[in-house]
């Protein structure tokens, strides 16, 4: 555990803190442009060309093209900006969340309908390993 970042000990979670925000600045600014229909269409028409307008790292660019949602979180995307990429694809928050958990959307919906994921076993990385 990093002394001044105790939240890094929460498993399966990337807290969007100041350092991650710094690393993800251009990535999030790209995602922010997906708020108009014209931009969404332009992006979908030629993703690589569209992305060339932004100062992304190679890893960030590949993760966008591959819709590698968890990798994008790790590389500094904030989930609310990331949702705009899911919406651009005609998907929902729920779909994106299910992809992050490795479940199908139906499995994820069923889990939520049965009350959601219990925090038991998910509070810390050490607790997760025991589970």
């Amino acid at each position: 555990m990093v002394a001044d970042k105790p939240y890094e000990d929460i498993p399966g979670t990337w807290i969007f803190d100041a350092q991650r925000a710094r690393a993800g600045y251009h990535l999030n600014q790209f995602l922010y442009t997906l708020m108009t229909d014209a931009n969404r269409k332009a992006f979908l028409a030629d993703e690589r060309s569209y992305l060339a307008n932004f100062k992304l790292t190679d890893a960030q660019r590949e993760a966008v093209l591959g819709r590698d949602w968890n990798r994008l979180l790790e590389l500094g995307a904030v989930v609310y900006a990331l949702a705009k990429l899911a919406f651009t694809d005609g998907r929902s928050y729920q779909y994106m969340a299910s992809q992050m958990t490795g479940m199908t959307e139906k499995e994820y919906v069923d889990m939520m309908l049965s009350g959601g994921r219990s925090p038991e076993g998910w509070r810390s990385k050490s607790e997760r390993e025991k589970h």
Partner: protein
Amino acid sequence: MARIVAGVGTSHTPAIGAALDNGKAGQPYWQPLFAGYEPAKRWMAETRPDVVIMVYNDHVNAFDFKVIPTFALGCAEQFPIADEGWGPRPVPVVKGYPELAAHLVQSLVLDEFDMTIVNEMQVDHGLTVPLTLLFGSPQEWPCRVIPLAVNVVQYPAPTGRRCYRLGQAIRKAVESWEEDLKVVVFGTGGMSHQIQGPRAGLTNPAFDKAFLDDLSRDPERLTRIPPLEYLREAGAEAIELVMWLLMRGTLGPKVEEVYRFYHIPASSTAVGNIILECR
């Protein structure tokens, strides 16, 4: 004199707005949720506030990452509805109250709360879903709305204690406004939920119940919950609950809980709704 008469705590899950806008409210998935909000809607129709102060967070819609205000007060005459990625919600434009908002800013800054003043701003589901849940789908919103956007997107959000104290300062500011106005304050977001990473879908009904209980019984206890506890116990996005503490701070020391509703799920969220009247 303007008076804050009550507070409303409610989730603002975007899927709730989408369900209503797309005519899905009667489906088995959604029906229990909307039924649970009916008493709160009736309460609101009877209460008829002149002004709502809406404590909510923007979800990278009004604010990109060029500027990230911790507390931003909407001082515009009106607030257009944002296109969050699937087109703007088909709801009326939100009418502000610039004169009162300007008064609040002045009072709050002199009271040592350094507000960001926002004169042009689009509003997203964080603000419009609570309006829909409590006011239904009118042609025009029946009251003026002053948005108070709190940063809960980039860690750290302001602490629960800081939010609570800002709420207390807002009460003082409202009461120094001469016009006779009935004001209701909303605290939105939450309750337990996480929408990111492999841990997405986390809920914690025990945490949520204790939170709802202590809004009237022991709000000071809630102000001592550290940020890490929200994240760990109730999910990464449950930090939004600090905005309920801001609302609670505006209500004065004594409140009476007149309504409560709790439901899982709306998309990835444990949904809560509470109405607290000032006593």
